[in-house]
Amino acid sequence: MSASERTTETIPEWKKEEVEALTEFLRSYDSVGVVNVAGIPSRQLQDMRRELHGSAELRMSRNTLLARALDEVDDGLEQLSEFLTGQVGLVGTNDNPFGLYKELEASKTPAPINAGEVAPNDIVIPEGDTGIDPGPFVGELQQIGADARIQEGSIQVLSDSVVTEEGEVVSDDVANVLGELGIEPKEVGLDLRSVYSEGVLFDPEDLAIDVEEYRADIQSAVASARNLSINAEYPTAATVPAMLQTAAGEAKSVGLEAAIESPDLMDDLVSTADAQVRALAANIDDEDALPEELRG
């Protein structure tokens, strides 16, 4: 307590005001996340801020002040402090944290990679026509490991070629070629490190929901309900057509099995008899015993 009093005494007025503003910001949202903003060009950052407007708000400040504000609110938010390293910002939203994660992922955009950066994934030069006229560039491509040739008047890449593997540092040559081809291998955007929402701290892994899985769950839930409805013979508007079909199918099966002379069944009985007589005839080897139409 005394330590915090002492620091409070020593910090200048503008910092106090900044912390107060940040604290107010934090209090006005149900969910607060820490996002990594490293490597995002400022213009792109502006665009992202604008896109988030309405559903979420991004605030940046010195990390020490952010930490102080998190401490100040003190209802669990201080747990986010450990993620305040490097270039980060805070996002606040009243959306649910899963929704926030989805939105941030969706707002990521491709960006070029510079020499000296670490490849975030395998960097691939895709198969196809580069559209570049024959010249020394084909050699540059070959040198970095691309399967390139001159063909039909232009430089072509004959198969997808990995030129830098995930985790490797991008070389000058690779960066140049990528730049020439306009390949943007990075995904740039607000990278969520953690979210604190109504008492729960979420990792990004927790927040990455698989929408397809939910869709599959719905299908499976619907299938279960259909099965139960039909097997328990509890008709609903959705399942009664199937039950009618089952009933009709059963009646038909019984009718055919018993060869019931019903007008509804006669067509099927005749065709069944025909199928049976043909099946039996197929077992007869002696052509003299067969009717003309079945003789080989």
């Binding site: 009933a247 199918g249 038909k252 099966s253 019984v254 099995e257 018993a258 060869a259 019903s262």
Partner: protein, 69 residues
């Protein structure tokens, strides 16, 4: 198919599938019952294992389902 349905209801209720019962069910449903068809139905079903015939119906559609998928 109403004659067959009548027999199937009797099969489930456990009442005997005889001419009187089939006729009663059909009349309750407002069917103008033909005696000879009732007789023919009862005679035809005499030697048939209805449960088995019903089950063989269930076997087909299931396959259909996967075929249709």
């Amino acid at each position: 198919m109403e004659y067959v349905y009548a027999a199937l209801i009797l099969n489930e209720s456990g009442d005997e599938i005889n001419e009187d019962n089939v006729t009663a069910v059909l009349e309750a449903a407002g069917v103008d019952v033909e005696e000879s068809r009732v007789k023919a139905l009862v005679a035809a079903l005499e030697d048939v294992d209805i449960e088995e015939a019903i089950e063989s119906a269930a076997a087909v559609p299931a396959a259909g389902a996967s075929g249709g998928a």
